[in-house]
Symmetry: C2
Subunit: 408 residues, 2 copies
Amino acid sequence: MLTVKEALELVLKHAAPLPIVDCPLESALDRTLAEEIEADADQPPFDKALVDGYAVRLADMARLPRRLKVGETILAGQTPRRPLGEGEAAEITTGAPLPPGADVVIMHERTTGFGDEIEIEDQEVRPDMNRLQRGEVYKRGDRLLSAGPRLAPWRLGLLAAVGRASVRVVDRPKVAVVPTGDELVDFHQTPGPGQIRNSNATMLAGLAADHGAETWTSPILPDEPEALAQGLRAALEHDVALVIGGVSAGQKDLVPNMLRTLGAREVFHKIRIRPGKPLWFGLGPPREGRPPALIFGLPGNPLSGLVNFLVFVRPALDVLKGRPGETPGPIAARLGRRHHHRGFFRVHLPARILRDDPSSDGLPTIVPLDSRGSADLRAAALADGFLVLPEDEATLEAGAIVEFLPLS
Amino acid sequence: MLTVKEALELVLKHAAPLPIVDCPLESALDRTLAEEIEADADQPPFDKALVDGYAVRLADMARLPRRLKVGETILAGQTPRRPLGEGEAAEITTGAPLPPGADVVIMHERTTGFGDEIEIEDQEVRPDMNRLQRGEVYKRGDRLLSAGPRLAPWRLGLLAAVGRASVRVVDRPKVAVVPTGDELVDFHQTPGPGQIRNSNATMLAGLAADHGAETWTSPILPDEPEALAQGLRAALEHDVALVIGGVSAGQKDLVPNMLRTLGAREVFHKIRIRPGKPLWFGLGPPREGRPPALIFGLPGNPLSGLVNFLVFVRPALDVLKGRPGETPGPIAARLGRRHHHRGFFRVHLPARILRDDPSSDGLPTIVPLDSRGSADLRAAALADGFLVLPEDEATLEAGAIVEFLPLS
């Protein structure tokens, strides 16, 4: 059976960035930038006042008292009508262009008015004071951004500043969530004898959406070949198919067989992870213009699906989005109480961070929650994350440094 | 002039959680849960097989060889037709209900078939092995979640498991983004003389959306009373109004006056922060059924708006969403090179984390980026966050521990 590390390497080996597409700037938030961005014009495009006050000539500041005649008024959005004369000041507002000849702006608060004249306080006046020179932030043709980063709001702002109505981005992953199993009923319904509600689809669609995917949730597929084939065929048209249930070894575990019938190829099945051991991973048949679907056959117990998503699906989505390695993995934490780990499987236990932490080394102290195994979604709902115990057997004392996978 | 701390206290004093509303589960992702959630039924609702294999009686395991007659087959979604007899096994799949009398499930892999009989390996058989007992995860009426947390995907899954088609949540903040200024043109356009593109609205709407708000962006409002009154009136119907520009001291700074005319009340204007000093904060007129709008008059320079958003608007949104203090503030970092800070203002400098960090104490080492002040959105686009220098004058040596506000 593969270790988690080996399995993750196989998943990542088969994941590739999605095609690059044009996207209107209005819809580009949090997408991955896929082109270089250059400045279309100098920034600022003109010498600009940074405060409300008076545009003056630095040369006129040498003579005391600094009495100047007030000429025109230049408001933001206007253009100066004429150059500034010697011994003259132009009233100016923040963001307005300085008139030719002016090289300094004096704040209102540092001046006193005398009719159509002002006197400027006897302060030190530095060149360029309160003026931003044309092209000082960047010049036309400067490279502002390279491909790769997330289009965070402030990067979108920069794209707007250079007039990008549309931008090249990596396409969003399209994720199909496919619940299967005769025992499932929709969460709106009351389960009959032997039935349970479908809680996984809601959780997995939410996880995928929180990681930047566009999601489609299939109706619940019964354990019946016709219906299963139809639903899975639709799922394989997506970039990622999260097929829930039907991956254990029993007689009714139709999913892997049906996937093969539909042209999918198994890469691995069952790995040394708990919860989540029955994970099936494979690739869909070739598609026009896009890589084959990455297919994750997830066990039906909700914590198995959650852990498999965090450990395998999330890093794969990062690669598809063109941001490999973006999601941080486990962090270091201190174990709050002794724990024996039997080893062989990498085990994920719902755990809580102790709020009134006695230690002072900056590491959070965590304790595993009382939990009832892979069906216990309540433990996950109350957890801050998972204590991750690697494949080796170990008796961990209280205070030991351990791995912690935060949920947030 | 108020310090940042004093100003933030005033903002938070006037922020209150929004009304509680019903929300379909399908739309509840990342909202704030506003009710207690109880289990509507035992979980699991029946004694359930955790693996594919054979349901048997523990008592029958005492006799060797463990030869049992195979009776009925129980698939997930079905119900057993009859109790398990002595010396009998029922074939069972993961998730299916155990027949009465059965208390253990033996994995397929640990059995050998002989016609209509099986023999079970000579392994230790523990009570409850591979069986999840009815109500073992939680019992009908158990409290599963209290009000307060984010409806993360795994919590939504738990709500689906207990059949919640709709859930009480704190309403989403409705945020109006209102760019003002004669100098602004839409980012699709090429600016004429004296004009610049509106980059702030895109950035601020993105910031608000990333923090869980529903955003509305107004057309650019000119510096003209009629149009300004109309646009601001619409903005004040929102929970938060981010009004950009027109908050400095010049003759054309109409925004604070117009807000007062429309019934808004000023709480503060200008604070000891850079960039972002001209920040105006006030409250809109009373509204039916919702608290008055929180109005942030943001300076027009993009870094001022960004910093004011991170420092003031974001914590206010957390309160409105019912999750006060959720957003982490600055973290500790190590300064990569000497820096002199003149003090009085709390200053935010775009800064980068050094990737090949020589220090080994776990703190990131940061260096301020070369930047051209509050208009330099490129510096923010390249930054990992802001070096935060408090109000006191200080000469900080390389290696000093400083505050760092991450952008992510």
